[in-house]
């Protein structure tokens, strides 16, 4: 059963072929048996999961279960879970047992999905390799000497290793799409405001967006349908009905669709294997009836430097709440209140988080605001304008997700800027608030390669439809790392 997709599991549950308790117990056993190899979970909630599974089976017997009731999945450990530790991959929150549920957690609970546990991640979602986690790095199931990507690397690895059929992620600069690409799965970052940020530990509030990760576009659509929706508790949530993603997949077609290929995404820096996969995907979509059109997104190169002002600036402000007073890590024996703040934060945060807090503090300090944050917000507008013009010509944009396949553990951890460039193709969608999806499109040297689709605002259904059509015609997404399908 562990090789089945969410859609297949939902059908099996509905047909009574299997119970949720059976599925849940089997998944928990697999995690216990295999996760030492990947380190994809920070917390496994066995007892709560089995209780939720039992409740789902009872609801199904009573005829009151929704279509996803009883399907096991996992939450990235950035979503607050009532009564369950929510660490955000940080020593700062190692002892933090959330007193409330994030809206996404409540929504998925209401849909009857069964949470198996909380997945590993880069500390406070700051990283592209999952090496900044207080709980140690996650290993890529395709090659355990390589990173799974980040920051939602635990979710991506757990799905690739068939420990869970789906999981939540969050994406501030590529943190759903890049690990999806490096682990050979599908991941969607929705339009900014589509999924509630309430109870999702804040990193950069104008960029953060939660979304689904799974093996197929169909499963991502099912999960997104459960996650998304207006939330009065999130001041930037958009009050707009959630599309029927299931309907968007049925009869999805790319015939006559115009797919833009941005010339800036095909320059230097992309590895040969990634280029071949992107070109292969474009060719496949043409065979399915789409037309590819060359377009230009002229401010692409400025997106990474712009992001590394906006994101740290917002992070330095957001993370000021961690003070050692109300919750979280507190240093031993503070001498005075400043010592309490400084040592709690100095000891509670890892190096990458500290670097970003300091970059943000510097960029927002007196006399520098205009040169950094204001300038960055102006470039953001130009990047957004690039996309607006592009979407006057095309329906969706296709390009690489990440410039390379999974890199080796430790390979980039000593050079922050080299690590930042892992997100050169994904960041622009966050800056513009647009939805983006990564889907498997081939392999290079035995490692999966993902390609990215970017759509206009609220066109998650269209992105999922294109990916679904692509996945009907290809089998990249069906490949599994050696041994995990046994």
């Amino acid at each position: 059963m562990h090789d089945r997709t969410i859609a297949e599991l939902a059908r099996a549950l509905a047909a009574g072929e299997v119970s949720s308790v059976e599925l849940t117990r089997a998944a928990l056993d697999r995690i216990e048996a295999h996760d030492a190899e990947y380190n994809s979970f920070i917390t496994v909630t066995r007892d709560a999961a089995l209780a939720e599974a039992e409740a789902a089976d009872e609801a199904r017997a009573a005829g009151s279960a929704g279509p996803l009731a009883g399907v096991p999945f996992a939450h990235k450990d950035i979503f607050c879970t009532d009564g369950v530790r929510t660490s955000c991959g940080s020593r700062m929150l190692d002892s933090f047992v959330s007193p409330y549920d994030a809206t996404v957690v409540r929504n998925m609970r209401d849909a009857g999905l069964v949470m198996l546990g909380k997945t590993n991640m880069d500390e406070f979602a700051m990283g592209s390799s999952n090496e900044t986690s207080w709980y140690g790095p996650v290993k890529n199931p395709w090659d355990t000497e390589r990173v799974p990507g980040g920051s939602s690397g635990g979710s991506a690895a757990a799905i690739a290793a068939r420990l869970v059929p789906g999981a939540t992620g969050t994406d501030t600069g590529g943190s759903i799409r890049q690990p999806a690409s490096l682990c050979g799965i599908t991941g969607l970052k929705p339009t900014y405001g589509r999924v509630s940020r309430y109870g999702m530990v804040a990193f950069a509030s104008s960029l953060d967006q939660g979304g689904p990760m799974a093996r197929t576009a169909e499963d991502c659509g099912l999960l997104l349908g459960a996650m998304a929706g207006f939330d009065p508790n999130d001041s930037t949530s958009i009050d707009r009905p959630v599309d029927d993603y299931r309907a968007a997949l049925e009869g999805a077609d790319v015939k006559g669709m115009k797919i833009g290929l941005p010339e800036e995404y095909f320059g230097e820096g992309m590895s040969a294997g990634v280029r071949a996969a992107v070109e292969g995907a474009a060719e496949q979509l043409r065979e399915l009836g789409a037309e590819t059109v060359e377009i230009s997104l002229p401010h692409t190169e400025a997106s990474v430097p712009t992001y590394y002002v906006v994101a740290p600036a917002e992070a330095s402000s957001n993370l000021s709440r961690f003070d050692g007073v109300r919750y979280g890590y507190r240093c031993e024996d503070p001498q005075d209140v400043i010592d309490l703040y400084q040592r709690s934060r100095g000891e509670g945060f890892g190096a990458e988080v500290q670097r970003r807090i300091m970059v943000g503090t510097y960029a927002l300090s007196a006399g520098y605001y205009d040169a950094y944050y204001l300038k960055a917000q102006q470039i953001r507008q130009l990047i957004s304008d690039d996309f607006r013009r592009a979407f006057e010509q095309v329906d969706v944009i296709l390009g690489p997700t990440s410039p390379t396949t999974a890199f080796r553990l430790g390979e980039r951890s000593g050079d922050p800027v080299a690590m930042y460039l892992s997100d050169v193709y994904t960041i622009a969608a966050n800056l513009a608030g647009l939805p983006g999806l990564s889907m498997p499109a081939g392999f290079a040297d035995g490692l999966p390669v993902g390609v990215q689709l970017v759509g206009n605002y609220f066109e998650e259904g269209r992105l999922l439809g294109v990916a679904h059509r692509f996945q009907q015609a290809t089998d990249h997404h069906r490949q599994a790392p050696a041994g995990v399908s046994d």
Partner: protein
């Protein structure tokens, strides 16, 4: 753009981060590298461009001014490092 160790100490203090001398040495190199990198922004002509406030130009919603939260002090203080009689404890601030 190069940050001196003194500047790094000042930023760390503003951010309330205790840093050791070794960390200051490492951070001054790394932060200088990051700031050099973000200085690439200066190559973009932004004259007359309105800074983006929200990707879809949405504005903040207002809601009726009514009480929607109940007091859950005990619940929230259960996870605090140190509390006494409903108050958060910190080292003495005023001598």
């Amino acid at each position: 753009m190069s940050l001196s160790p003194e500047e790094v100490r000042k930023i760390a203090h503003l951010a309330r981060l205790a840093v050791t001398d070794e960390q200051v040495a490492a951070y001054s190199g790394e932060l200088s590298g990051i700031l050099d990198f973000v200085d690439q922004m200066s190559q973009v002509d932004t004259a007359g461009v309105t800074p983006m406030a929200h990707p879809q130009h949405a504005t903040q919603r207002l809601r009726p001014d009514v009480v929607t939260e109940v007091n859950q002090r005990e619940r929230y203080q259960k996870i605090a490092p140190a509390v006494e009689r409903g108050l958060y404890l910190v080292p003495r601030v005023v001598e």
